[in-house]
Amino acid sequence: MAGIWVYADNPSLTLELLTAASSIAEGLKTGVAVILSHDRDRAQDYIDCGADEVFLLPPLSGDRSAGDYAPVIADAAREKKPDAILVAGTSGGKEIAARVAARLDTGLCGNCISMSVEGDSLVMDRFMYGGAAVQKVAFMAKPALATIPPRAYEPSRPTPGRQGKVEELPAPPISGIKVAGRRGREKRTEDISEAQVVVCAGRGFEKKEDLAMAREIADLLGGSVGCTRPVSEELHWLPEELCIGLSGIEVKPALYLGIGVSGQIQHVTGIRDAKIVSAVNKDENAPIFAVADMGIVGDLYEVLPKLISALKKAKG
């Protein structure tokens, strides 16, 4: 019997959740099941990657949305009584997790940042107060539900020869929501979540044109440019896909360089997995320095030209 279920709306996130599930399955002495709506013909691949069971959701017609699966997942869980259901923390995943939790009258840890098994129960951490604090939660009912932010875990790799069961779940009932149309992202911008070097522009820049300096440094370092929320949301200098932080993108580069970034906690939580955090800010007391490995206290308009020429020199 598989006690830990995972559900994600795409293949790569499903593999990440398999890694997460495996990390607690042993402690809870149970197996792992994948609830699959995409890739229905590739159930065996997921079994190779750690699933003991695969529950297949019937495909939906184009005018229905993934949220319609909520009652099916809830009914299956009511019947099979898993210990935990991990859901990918995409917008669709977060909605479905909350609705399944409501139907099962159980607890849900949203945006879980770490989980462990204590005794025979799950304990999870999540951020609160915009990232200023970490909230530790325990579950008082079963199953324990959690949403896991994308890219928090490495995708699970296949171990050939694994065996598993495949089971079809029933079709979802008619819902009151009809999808009338879909649009892809209007502007495909670069994906900074995987960049090895991220140069982040903050409020310290005085005008949009000056971001060229951040861009030049990123180019010299072979990295990407991201920004803080005010730069994308208030000033609209960069698209929101480049906004780093709790409610934006979480990055984990080898090097993060924050320029004119004050270090508001909502932003800082999005860079916690960077290997090296460095910063340029004229305010010696800027919170960014408290979370940086290396800091230059100085006006970015004085520092950046020097930094650019030093980097050029270093490159030879």
Binding site: R99, A102, A133, K136, K178, S247, M294
Partner: protein
């Protein structure tokens, strides 16, 4: 459109949270506010009312001190408020909040459309909206960036991983809104002064059938800390060169 319900939460303004000397959270000088995204929910209700008519009920669950939030919400354009207030409501977890809200709304609040923020600025659990929809048995559309209502048909653009999904639903329904759906207006003086003249229904814990047990228990709250020792560099050429050298030594460039 007939009746719009806008749910909101009165929360600690996280800008006032300081880290205590021992690394714990210092909440001694905090101020409170209507949770950021809930301001968008109220504004969207006002915008829809301006377009389609109807009336707006602002609903919140909280401790009695959250009464300041009631005036704030009413000054933002709600016509009346339901204040589900009790000292017992400190630290409710999302499943409890949703069940208290659903019970109070069922008991006496008309609704065709319920609007919530996508999440609260303190817990950001992003659950109360969808849970409430399930409790009430109505369609739920989350993470909406554009909303329109014609008669009893709602059209919403919601943000999904791949882009945007345009969905339709018959009222009654529940929608959670993203911050970019609108820019909440700043209440005028008259709005604020007339807020205290608008009707407020207060519901206490005793008037509810029961309060559900917590399904999720908070076992600890600690200040978030990144363990990094900041090495400082100056701004003269020598120091910048040293900075670049250090990056190179660490193998990140």
């Amino acid at each position: 459109m007939r009746e719009i319900v806008a749910c909101f939460k009165w929360v600690i303004d996280e800008a006032y949270i300081r880290r205590g000397s021992g690394g714990d959270l210092d909440l001694s000088a905090v101020n409170y506010k209507i949770s950021d995204y809930d301001r968008n929910a109220i504004e969207e209700a006002v915008r829809l009312k301006e377009k389609c008519g109807g009336s707006i009920t602002a609903v919140t669950v909280g401790v009695p001190e959250a009464t300041r939030g009631i005036k704030d919400a009413l000054s933002r354009g709600a016509d009346r408020a339901v204040f589900i207030a009790d000292a017992l409501f400190a630290g409710l977890e999302p499943s409890q909040t949703a069940s208290v809200l659903s019970e109070a709304i069922r008991a006496g609040t008309q609704f065709d459309l319920i609007l919530c923020g996508e999440g609260s600025s303190d817990l950001y659990a992003q659950q109360v909206g969808p849970r409430l929809a399930e409790k009430l048995g109505i369609p739920c559309i989350c993470y909406v960036q554009k909303l329109d209502v014609e008669g009893d048909l709602l059209t919403a653009e919601r943000r999904v991983e791949e882009g945007v999904e345009v969905v339709e639903a018959k009222l009654p329904a529940l929608v959670t809104v993203l911050p970019d759906i609108n820019t909440p207006r700043i209440p005028g003086v008259k709005d604020t002064l007339t807020a205290s003249k608008k009707p407020v229904v207060t519901v206490t814990a005793a008037e509810l059938k029961s309060i559900a047990e917590a399904r999720l228990k908070t076992t600890g709250i600690t200040a978030f800390r990144m363990e990094r020792s900041c090495e400082r560099f100056g701004t003269d050429d020598k120091e910048i060169t040293r900075f670049v050298g250090a990056l190179r030594k660490k193998g990140v460039i």
